[in-house]
Symmetry: C2
């Protein structure tokens, strides 16, 4: 079946977001990344900073738990006893499903592969590369300190894996969740985008 | 760097072995699969049936443990206190490393990606597909009964995963272990072979 939507899950610093934008040019369809966060912000009332910080991790911070308790109290009469984290996850799902209904597109992150699992016209992609390659990209692109970058990448990997596991009950980096997984460090981002674009175009 | 060796890890029934032989034709290099088992048999003295049965699983059978105990007793003076399973694994590694030194080739199974991890000229591939697709192939190709095929595939998956984890301390289906992972059920084995051959030829 011809594909309509590409979802890209990616290890931090592997260039998954950049590959998404390369695909946008090659396929002539929109890549939702920062704009997805803004749409979720608009839909949910959460700040974009909050979504960027909490959209792909399960948090246990004290402040977050206090805010969640207050929300519980506030929502008692409406029976909506969801945590803020759960509310954010539900909103992500709603926005992503609406996007996939509305237009062919590329969606980066936010467990999009999980939310769209019932559609057959979705190509699920996972991008990774070895730690040294990711450290180099992360320092150059995100401005992390060379001393701290290893710890930051380890933390991001753990956060994304546990967030994905918590909500989907699947392993985030398990190849079986995706139609194609590529090491962007071995062949470069352009080649990854070529392969994905080729698969997307198959009838 | 131009690749010399392709390793193919695969879920049972996903067509990884067939893709290996398609690559043999496309690339003009030999695919070691059944012949690898025969080479390991010759090197180790184990029967081919024993290698096929135990080469990709960690066994706990009583008979196997008795045989291992006898081997321990026999080897006490030579300080080689390895189980039969460990001896088989060590022989697999030696044969695979010799093959990679000897000629460009394709190696199916046997943790080849792990044994060749220090080489930079190896392309590591993982092939999988969804359970319904694998069940269909396994019934047609291996003659499993339709009633039993689901249980057989689950057992094979568990065996390969635990064998890989036991010896490599890594997750078998983790995309990060491989340069490319492909869902053969989505795009077919020919397309998978095309993508792998294309990556193999890149300088």
């Amino acid at each position: 079946m011809k594909k309509r939507v590409v979802t890209i899950s990616r290890k931090h610093g592997s260039g998954g977001r950049t590959i998404g934008h390369m695909l946008e040019e090659r396929l002539g369809i929109k890549c939702y990344d920062q704009q997805l966060i803004e749409m979720i912000a608009k839909e949910s009332g959460f700040a974009t900073d909050f979504i960027e910080e909490n959209g792909e991790k399960v948090t246990n911070s004290l402040l977050f738990n206090i805010a969640t308790s207050l929300t519980f109290a506030y929502n008692t009469f409406s029976q909506e006893r969801m945590s803020l984290q759960d509310q954010l996850f539900m909103t992500q799902g709603r926005v992503i499903k609406e996007l996939a209904d509305k237009e062919p597109c590329i969606i980066v992150g936010s467990c999009a592969d999980y939310f769209l699992a019932e559609r057959e016209d979705v190509l699920n992609v996972f991008i990774h590369s070895d730690k040294e390659h990711r450290k180099k990209i992360a320092v150059e692109k995100y401005g992390y300190s060379p001393k701290e970058v290893d710890g930051i990448l380890n933390r991001k990997d753990r956060e994304r894996a546990s967030h994905y596991r918590y909500y989907t009950e699947r392993d985030w980096a398990d190849a079986s969740n995706y139609h194609v997984c590529l090491d962007s460090g071995m062949y470069g981002m352009e080649k990854c985008a070529d392969i994905i674009a080729d698969l997307y175009r198959i009838d």
